[in-house]
Symmetry: C2
Subunit: 355 residues, 2 copies
């Protein structure tokens, strides 16, 4: 099978980690019978400055019509509001209907306080619909701005269904004897329906309904209000298996969970739709360290694996995960964010050797 | 001076901790020349079940017309949506225009990784305006619900100004020689303007403007995007002095910060308006432990102190803080959330002895 992969480095260290993603795909053992073709695509703040748009139509068209999957690096946010600029990754998720953002956060096997959770974040609506307006207040006290938070039954149902399916799939892997801290599958629904009774109330009741389907009868279901979820994430992270959340809470929770494993540089994500997936490291463009060859490539390498999983290439994904874990457990080639001294290139090469 | 204090225990352990708050006020040394009168007031889910409203008008009227300050316990959220029920604390904050929610999170002096921050949360708008609607989607795919997130220049300006003033006041206390981990005052503005350019963009630019006032020239100002803020809160909490945030981010961040000091049972808050303050522990009604006399009263006792600070009774506040710290440092009478075996009553009595 030949997979055609779009490469969108974006800005900053995106340009250093996406090439690492390409290298690991090219280095996969030939016994897997997988070939890759690559298309370089543009998006990001630099693209905006050059072309007037952060997400050229061509990038979207090529992804839609020619690619099986893609890797996205990171984009810089302008430090002041810039007219006409709008985040390309948010637009891409919506235009390709990549309705789920899947973010596994897992400590290495030898960790003292092991954690192993996946945050399944709705990826197309909530405040990310970006419908905003500004007006002058009637009493002359200044400007007022409003944004719409939109939650639909349809999007809530499909994201909760995906969360349930991921919980079942994780349980199956456990039953194959792989070590795990969880005994049975659990989905935790996160919301703030004590304040937002209609929007988050709809998310909550729809997620409950989706997870009540007979196929999920073996999956435990519980709820956490988002503030309490953040508290518990830090007090008893080992409890959580699959967390499902509306877009913004999912964004916040996944950065929080990343803190638990020591570095954002370790945490991958996949933007997933019907038959398409974009791997994307959770970290940003990190302008402070760009160009120094010290960015941690692991979030990207794991994002490559996650993308492959959603393209049904689980054997290839497993090889990458194992090589990364071996690198971390040995701990000889670690990037500075993990307290090591290795360059991006050295980390990548150590991992390629272990494939 | 005689202060008239409204007591609103609410539900669950609110009924156990608010009486502790009353006791400590009554036990303050007479050398402070402070007298207290108390008015018992109703609010909460139980009140809703009895009277059909979670916040009787009488409670609001008495607070407005007769009281100098108040203590609020906690309210239970119904486990399913209940028609007509709406959180009384959110309504109270708006009806009394208690525009700031101030949440100090501080480890005891002997902590290994000391932290000392205050979260200053806007308390009247954002998604908490609770303007929601639900409709059927045009394509028949189910219901859609929308909520308004509203951010005003006026509210953003006054909350950032309060954050700056708190930063200056903290610096003054440090200069009086009290031990601190901070060398100079710093306000961190939290937002998500990379997605919400108008609403959070307005919060960000207005906060910047407010903090650019000459009186704040000694205050450092920086920004964090909310997801990254949660990450950094856990990776380098010692960095933060004063964090200012819109309502919902402030809600989430303060629970996150509470996790850093070991228990929500330690974290106080004050809802502050012009000349009025309501002390409120950050924890909820904790139905699982109610009636057992094991709730940690410290969040409430510190909320009493915080209320007193905002009523300009700083000497009385200092006495309470010191008594609580002494209890924690000695560690002989700790409630179960801190790994101890003491009852609520025993903790309160140990602290009263130290006043
Ligand atoms: C860059 C930003 C728009 C984005 C988001 O909020 O989704 C990022 O934080 C992420 O999590 O991928
Ligand atoms: C009970 C709830 C409405 C409230 C809030 O979200 O403000 C609580 O979480 C708090 O932080 O005081």
């Amino acid at each position: 099978r030949t997979l055609r992969i779009g490469l969108i480095p974006g800005d900053g260290i995106g340009k250093e980690v996406i090439p690492a993603g390409r290298r690991i795909l090219e280095a996969l053992p030939s016994s897997l019978n997988l070939k890759f073709e690559f298309v370089d695509l543009k998006a990001g703040f630099e693209t905006f400055e050059q072309t007037g748009t952060a997400l050229p139509d061509k990038t979207v068209e090529v992804l839609k019509n020619e690619c099986d999957g893609a890797l996205f690096g990171a984009v810089s946010s302008p430090s002041k509001a810039v007219k006409g600029y709008s985040s390309p990754i948010v637009a891409l998720r919506k235009r390709l209907d990549l309705y789920a953002n899947v973010r596994p956060v897992k400590s290495v096997a030898t960790a003292q306080n092991p954690i192993d959770m996946v945050i399944v974040r709705e990826n197309t609506e909530d405040l990310y619909v970006k419908e905003e307006k500004t007006y002058d207040s009637a009493d002359g006290s200044g400007k007022i701005a409003e944004a719409i938070k939109r939650i639909s039954e349809k999007a809530s149902f499909r994201i909760a269904t995906m969360a349930g399916e991921i919980a079942l799939r994780r349980q199956k892997t456990r039953e194959m004897g792989l070590p795990s801290i969880h005994k049975s599958p659990l989905v935790t629904i996160t919301h703030k329906s004590n304040v937002l009774s209609q929007t988050d109330g709809l998310f909550r009741s729809t997620a409950r309904e989706a997870l009540a389907a007979p196929k999920f009868s073996s999956v435990g279901v519980e709820e956490q209000i988002v503030d309490s979820m953040v508290y518990k994430l830090f007090r008893q992270p080992e409890t959580y298996d699959v967390i499902v959340a509306p877009n913004l809470y999912g964004d916040i929770l996944s950065d929080g969970a990343a803190a638990l494993v020591g570095s954002l540089g370790l945490v991958p994500s996949a933007n997933v739709g019907e038959g398409f997936a974009i791997g994307e490291p959770c970290h940003g463009s990190a302008p402070d360290i760009m160009g120094k060859n010290i960015a941690n490539p692991i979030a990207t390498l794991r994002s490559v694996a996650l993308m492959l999983e959603f393209l049904n290439e689980e054997a290839a994904a497993a090889k990458i995960y194992a090589a990364v874990d071996a690198n971390l457990v040995e701990g000889k080639f670690l990037s500075p964010d993990l307290g090591g001294k290795a360059t991006t290139t050295e980390v990548v090469e150590d991992i390629l050797r272990r494939l």
